[in-house]
């Protein structure tokens, strides 16, 4: 199969796997939250690559004629929602990290392995 036809999807897969690797080997919970943000961006890349159409333009008709060929707008709407939700989840996770540090005075995941009452 043509490599160029597969490359965007493979790049999305690589970004996901490298983000997950960072999550698994992280020693600092803030760094882990950043790796989660990297892994989430893989989904944006995959969605938008699926929607791309050769020769298409942006699906905004304010300055192009209504007969022009556009790329798929549905996956762009999905990706837009994805971006917003990803950011809010990151904010919530960072608040959790601050609260964890207040209670246990460490943010090393390897040391946070006991459930304290």
């Amino acid at each position: 199969m043509n490599l160029f036809g597969l490359l965007p999807y493979l790049v999305a897969g690589w970004i996901l796997l490298i983000g997950m690797y960072g999550l698994v080997t992280s020693r600092n919970l803030i760094h882990a939250v950043g790796c989660l943000a990297v892994a989430q961006s893989a989904t944006y890349v995959l969605l938008l690559s699926i929607g791309f159409r050769r020769g298409g333009t942006a699906p905004v008709y304010s300055d192009t004629s209504t007969h022009s060929v556009v790329v798929d707008p549905v996956v762009q709407a999905l990706a837009l929602t994805d971006v917003v939700v990803g950011a809010t989840v990151t904010a919530l996770l960072l608040s959790l990290v601050i609260q964890l540090h207040k209670r246990h005075s460490t943010i090393d995941p390897d040391r946070l392995n006991a459930l304290r009452g």
Binding site: G13, I50, S62, V71, K102, D110
Partner: protein, 280 residues
């Protein structure tokens, strides 16, 4: 499980995922293919609803119910972060020293803050015409306000950012979105159906209910992000941690050294909590 065991297990799993994913990708349509059945129907529906920006039409007209869910996620996470970052009993409000700001930075902030606010309002208002809309404009509005923090100091930002008011504005705007859907029900159609007159294509008043929902979402996102940043800034800048040993040399108020070595409960810092608030 030990750390190296965990990493090795992950590497095996990652290899399996990589192989399965690559095989699955060969079944996807070629990158740049011209077959997008759902997209073609969405574009046709957008032009029928006389909205120029297809994404706004999909988000606020055709699939407005999904956007309502996304709004709720935003509101919920702001509430969650607010609850997690509230100032507990053993933390004190500390007054910071006023930092010196370069005159050029001050000029930059003074000139750019109204321009950025205007840009945010423009992007929210023109969501149905050009790329933009409620979310993007709301984030721009929220970050534009923080130019006051960059150009002046935290107290200037505090004055132009009434936190309780913004909290209630956030909730009211989220409720407004839900109630706008009821307008569809009242007109004996479906919930969140576009019942306002559709207007002329490519003008500011086109798209029916899309500009109205854009405005509600813009207000909600802007106030939500401002409140979120306010709690984070408060925790990082004006709150001294209750059990700290005063290790931060730039902490203007200083802290009395509590020799508390167990970090398991917040109540152990009570001797600090009873101190009156110090002001520089």
């Amino acid at each position: 499980m030990s750390r190296t065991g965990r990493v090795r297990l992950f590497l095996c799993a990652a290899a399996v995922i990589a192989v399965a994913y690559t095989l699955a990708c060969t079944g996807l349509p070629h990158f740049g293919s011209a077959v997008h059945p759902y997209g073609a129907r969405a574009v046709a529906a957008t032009l029928k609803q006389r909205t120029a920006n297809t994404i706004s039409s999909i988000n606020f007209d055709q699939r407005a119910f999904d956007t309502l869910g996304e709004e709720s996620i935003l509101l919920g996470s702001v509430l969650g972060a607010t609850a997690l970052l509230r100032r507990t009993d053993d933390e004190r409000l500390s007054r910071r020293r006023v930092a010196r700001v370069l005159p050029s930075t001050r000029l930059f902030g003074t000139l750019l803050l109204p321009v950025a606010l205007l840009t945010g309002i423009y992007i929210v208002a023109h969501g149905q015409l050009s790329p933009g809309g409620g979310f993007q404009g709301g984030v721009i509005l929220a970050t534009a306000l923080h130019l006051a923090y960059v150009a002046a100091d935290y107290r200037a930002l505090d004055r132009i950012r009434p936190r309780e008011l913004l909290d209630s504005v956030d909730a009211v705007a989220a409720g407004a979105f839900t109630c706008l859907g009821l307008a569809g029900l009242i007109a004996s159609a479906a919930y969140l159906k576009n019942v306002l007159p559709l207007g002329t294509f490519n003008t500011l008043s086109s798209g029916g209910m899309v500009p109205v929902i854009n405005a509600a979402v813009g207000i909600e996102v802007a106030s939500g992000v401002i409140v979120l940043l306010a709690y984070f800034l408060d925790q990082s800048i004006t709150t001294s941690p209750g059990e700290a040993d005063g290790t931060d040399p730039s902490d203007a108020s200083g802290t009395s050294g509590t020799s508390d070595t167990s970090g398991t409960s917040d109540a152990s810092g009570t001797s600090d909590a009873s101190d009156p608030r110090k002001a520089t």
